[in-house]
């Protein structure tokens, strides 16, 4: 096997990004993935295990892992941490009551060493709902400024319902991962 075929092999992997999407149940993860992929969002059941979606985005292939957020299955999130390039944390901005829960789960996740190198995108979802907290309010509640300074992160308001904000979020995430990992291009 010559060097060039090695390079080709590595390169092909290089173009792939592994993205883990988590958050409390009902936050809208599955809806976001289907919406960004242009699929029908009218019948979505709560996720019992996980879904994987492969999406070609710019010149990258995103493997998106959408993992169910019901309390019982949150302990399985750790099965998916390995080799994660990007982490998307989805918040239901209209569910004020469970924001403490949401903060606690996010804090736990960020302690995880296997995720320490991952870029973090926080989607403040359901912005179309009247009374939803704004992204900057969510940022305060989740105390994002206290995060480890080495972490690349961004919070973006979005609505999986209207599609607003989704591309902006994915653009940032993909660019950020690309600039960290694929410096060679």
């Amino acid at each position: 096997m010559g060097l060039l075929s090695i390079i080709r092999k590595i390169k092909r992997k290089e173009k792939e990004m592994r993205i883990l999407m988590v958050g409390l149940d009902n936050s809208g993860k599955t809806t976001i993935v289907l919406k960004i992929n242009g699929e029908d969002t009218s019948v979505i059941s709560p996720t019992l295990g996980f879904n994987i979606k492969t999406i070609v985005y710019d010149k990258y292939t995103l493997n998106i892992w959408d993992v169910g957020g019901q309390r019982t299955i949150r302990s399985y999130w750790r099965n998916y941490f390995e080799q994660t390039d990007g982490l998307i944390w989805v918040v239901d901005s209209s569910d004020l009551r469970r924001l403490d829960d949401c903060k606690m789960e996010l804090d736990n996740l960020l302690k995880e060493e296997r995720l320490s190198g991952a870029s973090l995108l926080i989607f403040a979802n359901k912005q179309d709902i009247q009374g939803a907290l704004t992204p900057s309010e969510i940022e305060k509640v989740l105390n994002l400024d206290a995060m480890d300074k080495t972490r690349h992160w961004k919070i973006i308001g979005c609505s999986a319902y209207t599609g607003e904000g989704l591309l902006e979020g994915f653009d940032w995430l993909v660019q950020d991962i690309a600039s960290r990992i694929y410096v060679l291009d």
Binding site: L4, I7, K13, E14, S42, N63, I129, G131, L184
Partner: protein
Amino acid sequence: MEAGDRDRSRDPSSTAGEGSDSEIERKRAQMIERLSNLHQARVQSSAREKSDSAPPSESTEAFLARFSDSKREIETRIADSKTVTDAESVKSRLEQIAKSIEEMEKLVAENSYFLPSYEVRSALRSVAELRQGLEVLNSELVPKKKFSFKSKSVKKGLSLSRPVAAEGTDSEPDTAEKGRFKARESPGFRSRTGEVLVKDFKGLEVGEFTISDLEECEVRLIGRVRAIYVHRLRNCKVYAGPVLGSILIEDVEDCVFVLASHQIRIHHAKKCDFYLRVRSRPIIEDCGGVRFGPYCLEYEGIDGDLKESRLDEETGNWGNVDDFKWLRAVQSPNWSVVPEKERVGTVIIDNKMSG
């Protein structure tokens, strides 16, 4: 896959013409070095992280071999079970098969980071097929059992003493809503006792609606909303028109709900009846003694509201409940169907406050 590689620019034959000067050569050499360093680093770090658990093979072949072994094994077990008649061993067989399928899914998840995505998807498809096979087996073996179970558990009072729900999650702080966002409360009914609470959403742009901390109240919601959050109700009745998004219910006891929504999630409910129309499968978690029946609400203009919310069709999903505390093929002991003669019948509401 090799054949589909269109990345001709890295093919020596296509770069030859670009002038293979030493500058390009040097850059390429650097790139190779950095790439292999990066690759090494990734492999090493994943090996390091994995060393405390199962030894990583990181080989697609090894994964596929293991995966297809257990797939075959499960298929055999499903086939073998078709002839089993003894109820007890049917039950334990079904449960064991379900558990093995879960383990297969976990195997896929754990190995997914190095598997080609095609393999991941086809492995997941196999898992789904096995689940389906199990479900078929289940319906072949235990249809009567399932039915008799349901009619047994609906006897009032029987399930009341079963200590199902709790499990410590109740220690969840109740402070969130009392804390930061008191100043900005969303529309809703909160902290009432013994009242009839009526809200007509017609002509209003209502986003989410919250119903919390009620005792012995009757809530009537007429018209459409995007989302409903229900928290801490005792001895209440809640009747609501269609919800375009989802309903989230937590910590309710001795209540009756008549609801229509695209999604419904129920956590920590005890001894409640739910009459639902849902587009997707309703789910319960940490519930006990909950029963389900079809939606049965009437108010003036409800047909139009249901239609606009795409909830005019009976999907039958009210009976397809997924219990997150019982991810097995056999019927969950935590929920049942309300027998027809015990159902509430059509509930007619209007927006007048007449008791």
